[in-house]
Symmetry: C2
Subunit: 233 residues, 2 copies
DNA sequence: GTAAAATTAGACACTATTGTCTAAAACGTC
DNA sequence: GACGTTTTAGACAATAGTGTCTAATTTTAC
């Protein structure tokens, strides 16, 4: 008499992605359509079509459009945060070949957080629906971008003592690092395009060079660290 | 018998703003509502209400919703470009007190181009409707942001010879300058808020310090240029 | 004051969308 | 194969928005 659990359904937590195939395909399709059309422009029928699912199935899983929207946002946010911190874990921890290692880290960060579907979705939704769902995105702000600064600042602090870097304010340095590695790409991304891998390599490499030039200790400035590569790229 | 021209109507060019009061109030209200609700979420009735104008008047001036939208975008683009280049004209042309002058310039740039209504509108519309009206925004991209890099690069080149700056690539330096002065503000702006003047001052000041540290000639690094202020902010 | 033009409110047809309901079909488990 | 669950297609009412039309009203120029 125990209630039969149909399949591997309901893996655990409410926002977990390990749900049935239909749910996943609905979430993915909805993310796509919401991103393209905005909340009010997205129609349930369109989402159903794109998910290869009947409209009624969507209403079965998510009571109404708004419920679906919030579930999609939550889903993307979780994934984006996971990606973010998994990249942060690759921050270089020794100062050998600092420039190249930092550049590789920067490229991974940009590629996996700013330039992918989830990044695009979040940027758009925060901007267009942020004021309508303050609590929803505020949570992301604190857990995502809000923590990146702090985390990256800590990593820079560690690096700063190993390499010969002169930093007053690690949080500021972190924000400037992020800004620099996005400098060449933000216009591309703003227009909905995806930069090529080459663009990405060059952009992050140049950004790291500038960042290091601004933060190496004066004594090191004439050293070999970044002088040679300065005109290489 | 000559056709009577009702008033100062039809000042000249098609996108000129010098039209009757109704037109202006429609354009302003529409910009507001389109920005808040997106194209498909904005209703003509809402715009009419906000403009204190009847719906029919809107249809008289702009045949349909799409026509109105394009007129609004064009109007904002024109204004934004004008503001942009008027700020560019204030770029410091002597190297005395470079840091402060650059910071003031940066603050004006951010305040008048990124942090105002028009900037917010354009960012949102490019992002959400850019793919639907490629030609429309592509024009802005070329005339606005596209030219800023070039113009700013030229200004930096001039400055570079006067002050003691080491720049290989002026375009790159221009993009990095813009990225740095927005570093601390972009998260605030992304969430639809307007930074306070104090936030703005601090952000641009720090950005300029970092920018100069990255670009002063090595020989100057131990000089007096930016060393003193480095820990002032 | 008069006449042309602009503006208004309201009704209207038309379309699109949301969310509900129903009965049939497909699916998975025993 | 039988049973419970999920999914499906389609009809449906309710709502909201677009764009048109008309007739009344206001504004403006002279």
């Amino acid at each position: 008499m125990k209630k039969r659990i149909p399949s591997a359904r309901k893996a655990s937590g409410h926002t977990q992605r390990g749900q049935c195939a239909k749910r996943i395909s609905i979430l993915d399709a909805a993310a796509e359509v919401f991103c393209r059309e905005g909340f009010s422009g997205a129609s349930i029928d369109e989402i159903a079509m794109e998910a290869c699912v009947s409209r009624q199935t969507i209403y079965n899983h998510y009571r109404e459009k708004e419920t679906l929207f919030m579930a999609v946002v939550q889903d993307v946010m979780d994934r984006a945060n996971a990606a973010l911190f998994s990249v942060l874990a690759t921050f270089p921890n020794n100062a050998d070949d600092l420039e190249n290692e930092l550049a590789a880290f920067a490229a991974a960060l940009v590629r996996n957080c700013s330039c992918n579907h989830d990044g695009k979705f979040l940027r758009r939704m925060v901007q267009t629906e942020g004021e309508r769902y303050p609590h929803l995105f505020e949570a992301w702000r604190k857990q995502g971008p809000g923590r990146v600064d702090a985390a990256l600042a800590a990593l820079l602090a560690r690096l700063s003592s190993q390499a010969n870097l002169a930093m007053d304010d690690f949080d500021l340095a972190a924000r400037q690092f992020l800004a620099l590695i996005n400098a060449d790409l933000q216009m591309i991304v703003l227009f909905g395009e995806t930069p090529t891998d080459e663009q990405l390599q060059i952009a992050t490499c140049k950004a790291v060079q500038t960042f290091l030039r601004a933060y190496v200790k004066p004594s090191e400035k004439t050293g070999a660290t970044s002088e040679k590569r300065l005109r290489a790229g």
